[in-house]
């Protein structure tokens, strides 16, 4: 264990951990909301995120982000943020419509919904990974080769954004990390307030507590569920945008590991609990990087899962407990 390094670099490490944890948190939001309302692990949410990263990438490419500077670049980035949010929202809604609604209507066992989610996840990831072939069917593979080429390897926007970095008290602070943390917290506050105060948000909470009563009180369950997926999708889009700013690279299977981690974060914080998702994401992000620093980066994922197990042992409903979901009978 490298304590000297760890304590010398603690602020910088923590900042990096918070930044990546913020991305976990934004993705976790989608898991936690859908779980809160439907008690369903939306396994395909990771792909919702992945499509967002590509929407961001393609928008930057299409608008010539590589050659842009200053205000023009900021405009392009804003456009790519909207594109990512739109793409993720659409995918989330399509998922709900195709893979879940038929099951919810028939009141199918919950486990089969998980299988449907897993299947949908495979389909979405593979469609992205085979986009060169799919484009070939409609004869567009040559025209779109910049976008559909490299279907199974990394796609990068490295060098497009040269974000400022400052050296503060010996540690390098990246403006992107600060932006990621700030945006994630801001977004969580917005969603939290929305769910608490707006009419739709109250509908979501009512449905989460008792779907039958909620529907008797005039809450449209289908619309509520759609809304839940929509919010989850939008936040995954934001996460995708921030992720691309930070990591600059994506791939058709990038969602899988992040999805598992984000779900872990959601459980860590208390699934169904929006604030829990934020806390869980940040704690997980920081724990991973501290673990990496102390034990070696090869133990990063092990640290994450061990932390999860330990926390669940002492707090069986996560750090903040469940709130959207039902209380125990």
């Amino acid at each position: 264990m490298n304590f000297e390094f760890f304590f010398n670099n603690l602020p910088g490490l923590t900042l990096s951990g918070l930044a990546f944890g913020a991305i976990y948190a934004l993705i976790a939001l989608g898991y936690t909301m859908v779980y809160g309302v439907l008690q369903l692990i939306n396994f395909a949410h990771s792909e919702v995120f992945m499509y967002g990263t590509f929407a961001m990438l393609w928008t930057v490419m299409a608008l010539g982000g590589a050659d842009a500077n200053g205000v023009e670049l900021i405009a392009i980035l804003l456009a790519s943020l909207l594109a990512a949010m739109a793409m993720s929202a659409v995918i989330a809604l399509v998922l709900e419509r195709v893979a879940y609604r038929p099951l919810i209507k028939r009141n199918a066992p919950r486990l089969i919904a998980l299988i449907s989610a897993i299947g949908a996840s495979f389909v979405l990831a593979e469609l992205m990974g085979l986009r060169d072939r799919v484009a070939g069917w409609v004869g567009l593979d040559d025209d779109l080769s910049d976008y559909v080429g490299k279907a199974r390897i990394n796609n990068s926007i490295a060098g497009v954004v040269d974000a400022p970095r400052w050296e503060v008290a010996g540690i390098i602070v990246s403006s992107i990390d600060l932006l990621v943390i700030f945006s994630a917290v801001a977004m969580m506050v917005v969603v939290d307030q929305f769910v608490r105060r707006s009419k739709l948000g109250k509908g979501i909470r009512a449905t989460a507590q008792d779907p039958e009563t909620a529907s008797m009180m005039g809450v449209n369950p289908t619309r509520t569920i759609q809304m839940t997926f929509l919010i989850g999708g939008l936040m995954a889009g934001v996460a995708a945008f921030l992720y691309m700013l930070k990591i600059e690279t994506t791939k058709f299977d990038v969602g899988f590991l992040l999805g598992v981690k984000a779900f872990t974060a959601a459980v860590l914080g208390g699934i169904g609990n929006l604030r829990g998702a934020l806390l869980g994401g940040l704690v997980l992000g920081v724990a991973e990087i501290w673990g990496s620093a102390l034990l070696g980066t090869e133990w990063r994922h092990v640290v994450a899962f061990v932390l999860l197990v330990v926390i669940l042992l002492f707090r069986p409903t996560g750090l903040l407990g469940e709130s959207l979901g039902k209380a125990r009978a």
Binding site: I153, N154, K246, H301
Partner: protein, 386 residues
């Protein structure tokens, strides 16, 4: 029920027919013809080569240039051959799980007289005993685990230097040419990357190693590693791994304030690495492969680009070489595995990556390692290093 009574009839028929039985050779027609460039060969000669490696699955990105390299060799051969050779893809998905059943199938198809692959060391280890038992000569374009050649499989060969040949050259380059006083060694926990990094670390010696860390294939956030590198004040970083992680790692290293030299090996010698943009500039890539200043290599590169619309990726040239060894044998009239194995063992010709000949364990006899440098958005040769 119906089926079983039929088979009993068949037994009866067969018992009477008696002599007919010897006619039966194989029962399969050789599986899918996925993507092979040499389909539709003439009926008289049905010799086949197999590609064994990932065509789909998570490692498909690494498999693609290998398949294309082998395909290019076969289609070039078929252009002016009387007897066309078919390249059959056996898609292992890069997983050792799939390997035994696939290898057994290849072993059972006598018309397959050579295997380009297996692509990875894991599947090589799982399939190796089967190929050895069946006498199918294999030439791997990409499996670098040194232990593979120590199993006593006389059918095993590889068309590239193993980790133990490239590692010392890379270490020597870091010490002598770069004059780096302290080097941080990172690997990706893949057997290729970890094996290579381990040898580099050992060769550099404890005094010259500033520290080491291990990431995982598929990771994208390397903040902890970057922090360790910067903290160690190393003036060079060696990364054992593939281009996918290297591209992201170098970007984050540069952003984190690392200003030394980034040294990587052949797993990163891929056009996709250049995606890293300015961050990739100055990266040193060691590779046991001849630079394209050699006319034969340049021809290969342009033919490859013409055929597939992209520059040759990692191990495409090695795959081309591996296929060429077999194709030369078939051109000489070899028609069975035994003769092919003899041919491969005795082969000694100039390939596009190196002089192709094997020692008794199947390792390439003469491995020269070259250094390349990323300069102006291109990978240019720095000459031979060891």
């Amino acid at each position: 029920m119906i089926r079983s009574s039929k088979s009993w009839q068949a037994v009866a028929v067969a018992a009477v027919a008696g002599l007919v039985l010897t006619a039966c050779g194989t029962t399969e027609d050789g599986g899918d013809e996925g993507g092979s460039g040499g389909g539709g060969g003439e009926a008289a000669c049905d010799l086949k080569l197999a590609f064994f490696g990932p065509e789909t699955g998570p490692a498909a990105g690494l498999g693609k240039p290998i398949i294309q390299g082998a395909e290019l060799a076969v289609s070039q051969y078929n252009e002016d051959a009387d007897c066309e050779v078919e390249l059959v893809n056996y898609d292992s998905q890069g997983s050792p799980d799939e390997a035994p059943a696939l290898a057994t199938e290849i072993a059972g198809d006598e018309s397959i007289i050579g295997v380009v692959g297996p692509a990875f060391s894991g599947e090589s280890a799982a399939a190796g005993p089967i190929f050895a038992e069946a006498g199918v000569p294999t030439v791997s374009p990409s499996a670098t685990n040194p232990a593979l050649s120590e199993n006593g499989w006389d059918t095993f060969h590889r068309a590239l230097g193993n980790d133990a040949t490239q590692g010392p050259a890379a270490a020597a380059y870091i010490k002598d040419t770069l004059q780096a006083k302290s080097t941080y060694v990172i690997d990706d926990a893949s057997e290729y990357g970890a094996g290579l990094a381990g040898i580099v670390e050992e060769d550099l010696g404890a005094d010259a190693v500033a520290g080491s860390d291990t990431i995982q294939v598929g990771d994208t956030d390397f903040a902890a590693t970057v922090s360790k590198v910067v903290d160690s004040e190393a003036d060079a970083v060696f990364f054992g791994g593939y281009y996918a992680e290297a591209t992201i790692l170098i970007g984050q290293l540069r952003q984190g304030g690392f200003e030394g030299t980034f040294v990587v090996a052949d797993g990163v010698k891929d056009p996709a690495y250049l995606d890293a943009g300015d961050a990739a500039e100055g990266t040193i890539i060691t590779c046991p492969c001849i630079p394209d200043t050699d006319p034969a290599v340049a021809d290969f590169a342009s033919a490859y680009e013409e055929e597939f619309g992209e520059a040759p990726g990692t191990y495409a040239a090695e795959a081309y070489d591996a296929a060429t060894i077999f194709l030369d044998g078939i051109g000489d009239g070899i028609g069975d595995r035994e003769a092919m194995l003899e041919h491969v063992n005795g082969y000694d010709e100039a390939g596009i990556t190196k002089q192709l000949s094997f020692d008794e364990t199947g390792e390439p006899a003469d491995v020269k390692v070259y250094a390349y440098k990323v300069e102006g958005g291109e990978i240019v040769s720095e000459g031979e290093i060891g």
